[in-house]
């Protein structure tokens, strides 16, 4: 493998560019992180403290943001009065269930598309991807009609099915790339060694594990953050976190504190997931592109 060291040549222009790059990164970090910081801090504030703002232009007064006594009452409200424990479970089941189902069927389909030649293969593959091309809103109404006649509206299986409909083509598409990069010789060797075709397939799964990992994350993210499906197909019996949070906005009473706390509860697991599998995710998404 080639050395990873990149040789640098320092010219004045490059130094200026480097400073500019640092400034840009700092600004960008503030831009992206500030909302989360405000959300996190506010979720521990009284309503009064939350709206205590310094005068415009008074940069010294920035301290008032952090001048409060923390309270956990918003979190208590969420879980005691608003049943958020249930919604977390719903979100987990919907996201996890659809991820697992998509990955199982996705890897089987991707493997076949990668390994077997049959007539109309490229058309089939294009058709699979093309189901993702229509915007979700466009198919929402017909989908709702179908789900309603199947009595799936407002149920977790219904929501899982809806997410799977959209995740599966994505799974097939991503995973096919990963299978394409695994030399077929490995399965041939397995089969000569005494493996069945299916054993040969499972034997190369560790080689596409980064792809599967990356896909599961994207799939979970999609379902976890989704509002549209959850609001329409999951409404009622299968309420997930984004929908439940939305319901904290009531015409005469916007529960800012609870909304901030709900925001934290919704975002934190995904951020943790992101941190845990970060390394995986990066190798996963590049491994498909770089041939060994």
């Amino acid at each position: 493998m080639a050395s990873r060291d990149v040789v640098h040549y320092d010219t004045p222009l490059q130094r200026v560019l480097r400073v500019l790059a640092v400034i840009f990164v700092v600004l960008y970090l503030i831009w992206t992180l500030l909302p989360f910081v405000i959300m996190f801090v506010s979720s521990f504030k009284d309503l009064l403290a939350a709206f205590k703002l310094p005068e415009v232009g008074d940069w010294m007064g920035i301290g008032v943001f952090f001048d409060f006594t923390p309270t956990y009452k918003h979190y208590a409200t969420l879980f005691q009065e608003n049943n958020f424990g249930r919604y977390i479970m719903n979100s987990l089941i919907a996201a996890g269930g659809s991820a697992v189902i998509s990955v199982i069927f996705g890897s089987l389909a991707a493997y076949s598309l990668s390994r077997v030649d049959f007539r109309g293969k490229s058309d089939l593959f294009f058709w699979i991807i093309s189901t993702r091309m229509a915007p979700v809103v466009a198919v929402m109404v017909p989908l709702f009609a179908i789900f309603r006649s199947l009595d799936l509206v407002g149920t977790l299986p219904g929501l899982i099915l809806a997410y799977t409909t959209f995740n599966l083509p994505f799974a097939i598409w991503i995973l096919k790339g990963f299978f394409d990069n695994v030399p077929y010789g490995i399965e041939e060797a397995q089969m000569v060694d005494g493996a069945t075709r299916f054993q040969a397939f499972t034997s190369i799964l560790p080689l596409v594990a980064p792809g599967i990992g990356a896909f599961i994350v994207l799939c979970v993210l999609f379902a976890w953050n989704d509002f549209l499906f959850a609001a329409i197909i999951g409404s009622g019996g299968a309420k997930t976190l984004p929908v439940a949070t939305r319901e904290l906005v009531q015409p005469q009473n916007i529960q800012w504190g609870a909304i901030m706390a709900a925001g934290v509860v919704t975002t934190a697991p995904m951020m943790l997931l992101g941190l845990v599998i970060r390394k995986y995710l990066v190798t996963g998404l590049t491994m498909g592109a770089v041939k060994e």
């Binding site: 010789g185 397995q190 000569v192 005494g194 034997s203 080689l207």
Partner: protein, 364 residues
């Protein structure tokens, strides 16, 4: 252990034939080498035997049982792949253990067998590594280990030692041959190295352009090639070919060329059938069937001019310029001739060959 019969087998990749009407019978327990240049269909044949490639036409039989439609795992063959095909995510130990694991062998057996194979192949110190941490030759030995760790009906070795250094290769030749004889398992061994085939095989199948050229023991292949192509492919340094005219008839037949006129031995005249009596033919002589001298010898000889001398360790190879071709002669290192000097070559007529000028088949 099995007798392998390949009967009228064809392999087509789309429209291009890679193997053409191949017929072979490998006796039970024999060591058969498939020898041929790159792209002649050796690997295709092996892959059909292993069940990895569809057989376009014809039959393959193991012990008189047709196995065309048998899945690879049911054929009970062990194969060393040309490209190793190791499992990148497994250690060397697990790579070698894989066939045993798939057969649910006991842990003790696995350990025993794998260590035995590793020792034989001199890779015991590498068992914990992964394939990406091995050199090409080491990978190749791991691939051999994976094949010999169990006792299959048939070994298929596709250029298994092509990436080893000369010394290790010589060593592995001995080990593989010994192993095959000890186990008594039929072996089909693909190589493009004629020395490997000549030194290891009981029988050699020489292939060219997807066609079987000759089947025979190493000495038959070397001493009685059926055509000019086989004669030129087998033997190092390669055989010299000179196009010459066939002169005379009855008993006094000679090969005539601007640089020589040499009579055929009496026993050889009959082998030139009538059709070839007048016209041209190709004379083939191996470099070690020629004797070079700086003085005109008594018998018929080839006159030429020394072009260059090459020292090959214990021998000297002298290239001699004739009117239209150069001939190579093997001689001893104390040969005193210098480039540019005239010399004479005497042919050992017991060991020369005459091939048809057209299709190249051998008269003798």
């Amino acid at each position: 252990m099995a007798t392998v019969t390949i009967r009228n087998v064809w392999k087509y990749y789309n429209q291009t034939p890679a193997v053409k009407d191949l017929n072979l019978t490998c006796p039970d327990g024999s060591f058969v080498s498939i020898l041929g240049p790159s792209g002649c269909g050796k690997s295709s044949t092996m892959r059909m035997l292993a069940g990895l490639e569809h057989i376009s036409a014809g039959d393959i039989l193991f012990d008189d049982v047709r196995i065309n439609d048998l899945a690879p795992k049911d054929r009970d063959v062990a194969m060393v792949f040309e490209n190793y095909a190791l499992y990148p995510h497994k250690t060397v130990f697990e790579n070698i253990a894989n066939p045993l694991r798939l057969r649910k062998a006991s842990e003790a057996t696995i350990k025993d067998r794998v260590n035995g194979a590793a020792k034989l192949l001199e890779i015991s110190h590498l068992l914990d590594r992964r394939p990406s941490e091995l050199s090409g030759g080491q990978k190749q030995r791991v691939a051999i280990g994976r094949a010999i760790v169990r006792e299959p009906k048939l070994f298929l070795f596709d250029e298994p030692i092509a990436h080893l250094d000369a010394k290790l290769r010589a060593h592995m030749r001995g080990e593989i041959k010994h192993l095959q004889k000890t186990l008594g398992t039929t072996m089909i061994y693909v190589t493009h190295d004629q020395l490997e085939a000549l030194s290891m095989a009981d029988y050699i199948a020489v292939m060219h352009d997807g066609e079987l050229q000759q089947w025979g023991t190493p000495s038959e292949i070397f001493n009685h090639p059926v055509n000019a192509w086989v004669a030129g492919f087998v033997g190092e340094p390669a055989m010299n070919f000179v196009t010459a005219e066939i002169r005379g008839g009855g008993d006094g037949v000679t090969l005539k060329h601007a640089n020589f006129e040499i009579p055929l031995l009496a026993s050889q005249v009959g082998k030139l059938n009538g059709a070839a009596q007048a016209g041209t033919a190709r004379m083939g002589v191996r470099p070690d069937a020629l004797t070079i001298s700086m003085t005109r010898p008594d018998g018929p000889a080839i006159t030429g001019v020394i072009f260059v001398n090459e020292l090959l360790g214990g021998d000297m190879l002298v290239e001699v310029q004739l009117q239209d071709v150069r001939m190579r002669v093997k001689t001893s290192t104390d040969f005193a001739g210098k480039p540019g000097e005239t010399c004479w070559l005497t042919v050992n007529r017991e060991k020369w060959h005459v091939f048809d000028a057209g299709d190249g088949h051998a008269y003798f």
